[in-house]
């Protein structure tokens, strides 16, 4: 039992390490910026999640206490990684890619980040005059 737990933990750590280094290596090696965006946001997040699960199981089995911090860090990372990826992709779309070079969206409307109606702030927020 003890040996099996140790093997599982070691496998999780090695898995996490491999995915972490693949993510950072992809950031160096992939040819285009929007392809490079995929490597850290997917591979590294998976590697970090694996290492955090290994840490949680380690404290559970060897120190006899459940540490919830790892779960919170995992949840937080998995929630925020898509948001940061979306922001970086948006910055790249506006800085380095021509609007005409993008493929059609196929739904009749244009890309949401160029759509003035999507970008407009809600009318309630725009109307900040004192109603008197």
């Amino acid at each position: 039992m003890n040996l099996m737990v140790e093997y599982i933990l070691a496998a999780l750590l090695v898995f996490g390490g491999i995915f972490g280094i693949v993510g950072s290596f992809g950031l160096l090696k992939l040819p285009q910026m929007l392809q490079r965006l995929h490597a850290p946001t997917k591979a590294t997040t998976l590697g970090v999640g694996s290492a955090l699960i290994a840490s949680m199981a380690y404290f559970w089995f060897y120190e006899d206490r459940v540490s919830w911090h790892e779960l919170m860090i995992t949840l937080f990372l998995f929630l925020t990684a898509p948001i940061t990826a979306n922001f970086i992709a948006k910055a790249q779309l506006h800085r380095a890619i021509n609007k005409e070079d993008l493929p059609p969206t196929g739904v009749g409307t244009q890309w949401a980040t160029y759509d003035p109606e999507v970008q407009a702030v809600s009318p309630i927020l725009l109307d900040d005059r004192d109603p008197g």
């Binding site: 140790e6 093997y7 933990l9 070691a10 496998a11 750590l13 090695v14 996490g16 390490g17 491999i18 972490g20 280094i21 993510g23 950072s24 290596f25 950031l27 160096l28 910026m33 490079r36 965006l37 850290p40 590294t44 997040t45 590697g47 970090v48 290492a51 955090l52 290994a54 840490s55 380690y58 404290f59 060897y62 120190e63 540490s67 911090h69 790892e70 919170m72 860090i73 937080f76 990372l77 925020t80 948001i83 940061t84 922001f87 970086i88 948006k90 910055a91 790249q92 506006h94 800085r95 380095a96």
Partner: protein
């Protein structure tokens, strides 16, 4: 003990990843690459903190890791916002 070797391997992987991100911060074709590299550096350092906690068998540093994750997220979003709009809070 095989767990110690696995821990060493994970340290090595994430440390090498950190070095690659540092190279990408200094040599990058555009500013979005630098933002992405800084974001990945935050994630790698966070993992190193967690692995260090496993090595020293103490959970003291995990709050620091949590705060680090939050600060990294907010700083990445602020940097992107600055690149997009020239201002952070309009």
């Amino acid at each position: 003990m095989i767990l110690n070797y696995a821990l060493d391997f994970a340290f090595l992987c994430f440390g090498l990843g950190l070095a690659m991100n540092l190279y990408r911060v200094f040599r990058a074709p555009g500013v979005t690459d630098r933002i992405l590299a800084l974001d990945t550096m935050v994630i790698n350092v966070l993992t190193l903190i967690v692995l260090y906690g496993m090595r020293t068998k103490s959970g003291v540093n995990f709050e620091a890791a949590l705060l680090f994750a939050m600060t990294g997220f907010v700083s990445t979003v602020a940097y992107c916002k600055f690149v997009l709009r020239g201002d952070i809070i309009e």
